[in-house]
Symmetry: C2
């Protein structure tokens, strides 16, 4: 059986869950607390980060891009990284936008500060980082709106890993109630389409003990 | 003609220069100061970051991974991202290691603080960040040593974008004289092999006005 090491509010682990679900690939999840630095986990991924995927043939895959590219290359029934080189470049440009730029400007500042510090016991969240995260988020919602004003999905006509990556980050922020949907209608309409996909059901059912999501989190009509 | 928008101490732009050179693809370089946010440059890449590559057929490519994956897919005489899916996963895992983990822990703290703040005029470098960068660097040099103790190149038998990525980051740090080569012989031996490659000549000839590199920077026997 395929095994995914994940943590619940890692946007990177969520991305791999969504890719596996879109491709109808079965998997079991194991919750990992990367900050505990378990030797057995470090042996799988010396970077000490989730996600890590163990394929049914025992191939160990670590690193979000490495995992997603591998899955899209090996399981080709439904391609999620574009159908030609130029399309793929656009998907990967946007993956970088959300996984690097938005993560640095928003997700790390909000989910990282609020949740990871809480779980790791690293002390109080940095209020300056949280303010920066809130201040930076509208720019990314506007960019999603700009894109879907011109295209059906973020990278073009086809649903792709670009949509999955953006939704993975936004879903962790939405779990904390941090997304100002009311002021970003085009992004909300796009996210509503994502939320209604069968692949998203497990994400919407996520529940952290002691920290339930806001009511609208799982609501398709939010 | 192919045009690369770059800046001299961006490890990401250096990576694309090295990939182009390894593939014997001609290109012209245009120096961009991303922090000036030129509208014409933002039209090419809304993220406002180098590298951006304009292909001879006018295809605009932005985002380091997007550019490198495109080049490896389209110009296949010499593959730099592995020859099968498992090899490619290992190359991409290590690309993520150096471009995300090492960049966050080292390059951004040293090159980012020292150079970008100087160029952008954003004030004094953050001395805490610089201390963290120096403290984190040996771990990455040790990891390179660990890998080349077991393999000919970082990702396996073949020279790959994993080597190029690590060398791109180390070359910017080395330009500032920040790499403690004396205490990391295996990493030095690997970097000496990289430095002697024809693709690296242009990198070793880099010279920033007012900030010359240390003497050993271009020395193949450093």
């Amino acid at each position: 059986m395929r095994v995914l090491y994940h943590s619940l509010l890692s946007p990177f682990a969520r991305k791999v869950r969504l890719v596996l679900a879109e491709k109808n690939l079965d998997f079991t999840m194991k919750a990992e607390k990367p900050w505990e630095r378990r030797p057995e986990f470090l042996a799988l991924n010396p970077a000490g980060e989730v996600p890590v995927l163990i394929e049914p043939d025992s191939t160990v895959l670590a690193g979000t891009d490495a995992i997603v590219e591998y899955l899209d290359e090996v399981y080709r029934d439904k391609l999620l990284i574009g159908i030609n080189a130029v399309d793929r470049a656009e998907v990967r440009r946007l993956v970088g936008w959300f996984d690097i730029k938005m993560d640095r400007e928003v997700t790390a500042n909000l989910v990282g500060e609020k949740m990871l510090k809480r779980m790791v016991g690293e002390g109080q969240p940095n209020s300056q980082a949280i303010r920066a995260g809130h201040a930076n988020l509208p720019h990314h919602l506007d960019y999603i709106g700009y894109l879907v004003d011109r295209r059906r999905w973020l990278a073009g006509d086809h649903f792709s890993v670009a949509d999955i990556t953006a939704a993975a980050h936004l879903s962790t922020l939405d779990y904390l109630g941090d997304v100002p949907w009311d002021q970003h209608e085009p992004a909300r309409e796009w996210y509503a389409r994502i939320k209604s996909r069968p692949s998203f059901r497990a994400i919407l059912a996520d529940h952290m003990p002691g920290l339930p999501p806001p009511k609208h989190y799982a609501d398709l009509d939010f």
